[in-house]
């Protein structure tokens, strides 16, 4: 008897988690699956890419709670991500604070910002909310660019000083493995938080806010507080991702860390994977980061340079390919990867039911 599909999910998740935990010990060689120099599974380069995958997956799950469950299309998650990287980086590098006070400060700043800016942005609805959050995020980008008191390093960015960090976290290549596990742990924690919240009563109100805010208001439930909770928790998760980012990469540059591109990437990950499903966001993030790396490497292959320009130019531009894939998904598979999987399973399940009906008769 086939296991009902809704129960096989957690098993697959736990199995994948187990595999990823032991992955740094496996020296597998995958020449086609992983491009160029990344083809050894536990090489430093591959572990770093995977750590980025986990980091984005965690942020994407947090964003899915706000966008997929609560229906709030914020275009500002990059703000809280950048707060995570920059505040943490500044506390450790400029002020030479120890690890835990730095963490506390970073999350504290993020919390205050999320509450204040959330309260302003949530005064407007729908599209205007998207625009306002975008504007706030852009303001932070301008702030970082302008290098106040030489804190952020402006355009050139700010490198993390590892002096005050415990030895196992220092930027040494031998520590990539530890950072990989930290990124994985971040994903697990983010996923658990989102899982607990969305399965709770609060989470059910989130969905109600998405479906019909007016009705909630009429029923005497203030949607504002729930939207606020969703926004703040999601923002704090993005801040956690920012901290993981600066630990793994070691440098914060505004155009990479604080620009709208990051927001759009997160949004694309969630939609590509399937909004409102949690695991879809994880898969979407993994696929997106993997494709980005892969297309970048493949585009530089020598065999590509022999193609005529009409083919070579588009095919060697990851941004074009990712954008095109995204457009196709929105058009033909609006439920994302998760939607495709679930639809197949339902089709199979209904075929099986039909078959059993025939057998009985």
């Amino acid at each position: 008897m086939r296991r009902p599909f809704y129960r096989s999910g957690p098993l697959v998740g736990v199995a994948c988690l187990g595999l990823f935990i032991v992955l740094p010990f496996i020296g597998l060689h995958l020449p086609w699956v992983l491009p160029g120099t990344l083809d050894i599974v536990n090489s430093t380069g591959t572990l770093e890419v995977l750590a980025l995958c986990f980091m984005f997956a965690g942020i994407a799950v947090g964003y899915d709670m706000m966008f997929g469950y609560t229906g709030l299309m914020s275009l500002g998650p990059v703000l809280y991500f950048a707060v995570g990287t920059y505040v943490f980086d500044i506390a450790l590098t400029h002020w030479e604070w120890p690890l835990f006070p730095s963490l506390l400060l970073t999350f504290g700043v993020s919390l205050v910002l999320a509450v204040v800016l959330g309260a302003i942005a949530l005064r407007v609805h729908g599209i205007a909310f998207a625009m306002v959050t975008l504007a706030f995020a852009q303001a932070f980008y301008f702030l970082v660019e302008s290098n106040p008191h030489n804190l952020t390093g402006g355009d050139t960015g700010l490198s993390l000083s590892y002096n005050r960090l415990p030895a196992f976290l220092s930027g040494a290549v031998s520590n990539t493995r530890n950072l990989y596990w930290i990124a994985l742990a971040f994903l697990v924690v983010a996923y658990l938080i989102v899982w607990l919240v969305t399965e709770s009563v609060t989470g059910h109100v989130f969905v109600a806010v998405r479906e019909n805010e007016l009705r909630l208001d009429v029923l005497g439930v203030r949607p504002f507080r729930f939207k606020m909770v969703s926004f703040v928790v999601s923002s704090l998760i993005a801040t956690g991702g920012g901290i993981v980012y600066i630990l793994v990469i070691g440098t914060a540059v505004p155009s990479v860390v604080a620009s709208t591109t990051v927001t759009l990437s997160i949004l694309i990950m969630v939609v590509l994977g399937g909004a409102g499903t949690r695991w879809g966001a994880v898969i979407g993030a993994m696929v997106y980061v993997y494709l980005q790396q892969y297309l970048d490497k493949v585009g530089a292959e020598p065999s590509f340079t022999r193609l005529p320009a009409v083919l070579r130019v588009p095919l060697s531009e990851p941004q074009f390919l990712l954008g095109a894939i995204f457009v196709l998904f929105v058009f033909f598979a609006p439920g994302g990867i998760a939607g495709l999987v679930v639809r197949r399973r339902i089709q199979r399940a209904s075929a099986a039911t039909l078959l059993s009906v025939f057998k009985k008769s």
Partner: protein, 301 residues
């Protein structure tokens, strides 16, 4: 005092460009509930079309003719790109506003990626006639000629748009559609055609804004991401002015343009404050939202 007047003049020019970028966005949103992310792309495409025209055509045309052709070409390019986008990508997704936003985001990324592949990510220089670079001497002030161009274009478009919306049949349909789309449809009027028209008008204004920004404010340079950075200010203007309101966009664009020029000059000179001009626009947005969540000219729901 002289400096203040010159700043005011360039602030109005910047406002004119913001108005061109924002009013199309606002109309599209007002009529169709679409947040058009590809609006930045239309601006960039306009600028590149202008670049192609100004560099490919023989220089025997003379620099002034080439610039005029470039501006016309940019406007047509914006209109064409917007029309095609509406017909192929937006139209099949009516009733799904989120999908429409996502589609425009994907389109923007994809085509900007193509532009980076085709033209390179470094900025390209458009050749312009000397008189566009020189200033005009009026009553002790030296005013850049290029700014006259932007202000002129802004005024012509504002007046033209108001007349079109007030007097023509389609203008009336569009205004009615912004007020109540379902009612217009119930009266047996094909709103779909008005949707395409609004996109084409918005795209034309965006293409014009793109090439004018290049000529007036970015030192005749075109780059693949210029439209997307302008788009953010266009968003700010649209929200401050009130979604769907042309006059709101015009007033807000003027206020934002002036504020940006003043703060950049008077405060931005101090170290660490270089970006205050851009920051101040966001602060203004926050203040306006606290005071009037629907924007200056927003309708009461």
């Amino acid at each position: 005092m002289n400096i203040f007047l010159v700043l005011t003049f360039s602030g109005v020019a910047l406002g004119a460009i913001y108005f061109l970028a924002a009013s199309g966005l606002s109309l599209i949103y007002g009529l169709m509930d679409v947040l058009n992310f590809a609006h930045g792309l239309f601006m960039t495409l306009g600028a590149y079309a202008g670049f192609e025209i100004a560099t490919r055509l023989p220089s025997s045309f003379g620099a002034p003719t080439l610039v005029i052709l470039a501006i016309v070409g940019a406007t047509l390019m914006g209109a064409l790109a917007a029309g095609v986008t509406e017909l192929i990508l937006i139209r099949p997704l009516y009733g799904k506003p989120i999908s429409q936003i996502l589609i425009t985001i994907g389109l923007d990324l994809a085509v900007v990626g193509l532009l980076m592949g085709g033209f390179g990510s470094t900025a390209l220089q458009i050749p312009v006639p000397l008189w566009l670079i020189e200033p005009t001497h009026i009553g002790g002030l030296y005013l850049p000629n290029a700014s006259f161009l932007a202000i002129g274009a802004g005024v012509i478009v504002l007046v033209g748009l108001e007349l079109f919306l007030a007097l023509t049949r389609y203008g009336i349909i569009i205004r009615a559609g912004v007020e109540n789309r379902e009612m217009v449809r119930a009266l047996g009027i094909d709103v779909g055609r008005a949707f395409t028209l609004v996109f084409v008008i918005g795209g034309a204004m965006a293409g014009l804004a793109g090439i004018l920004y290049t000529i007036v404010f970015s030192g005749d340079l075109v780059s693949p991401n210029q439209g997307d950075s302008l788009l953010i200010f266009a968003f700010i203007v649209v929200v401050i002015g009130g979604l769907g309101s042309i006059r709101g966009s015009a007033v807000a664009a003027l206020v934002v343009g002036l504020l940006q020029q003043y703060t950049t000059f008077y405060i931005g000179g101090h170290s660490g404050w270089a970006q205050i001009g851009d920051l101040s626009t966001v602060l203004l947005l926050a203040v306006v939202l606290e005071w009037r969540p629907r924007g200056l000219f927003g309708r009461v729901a």
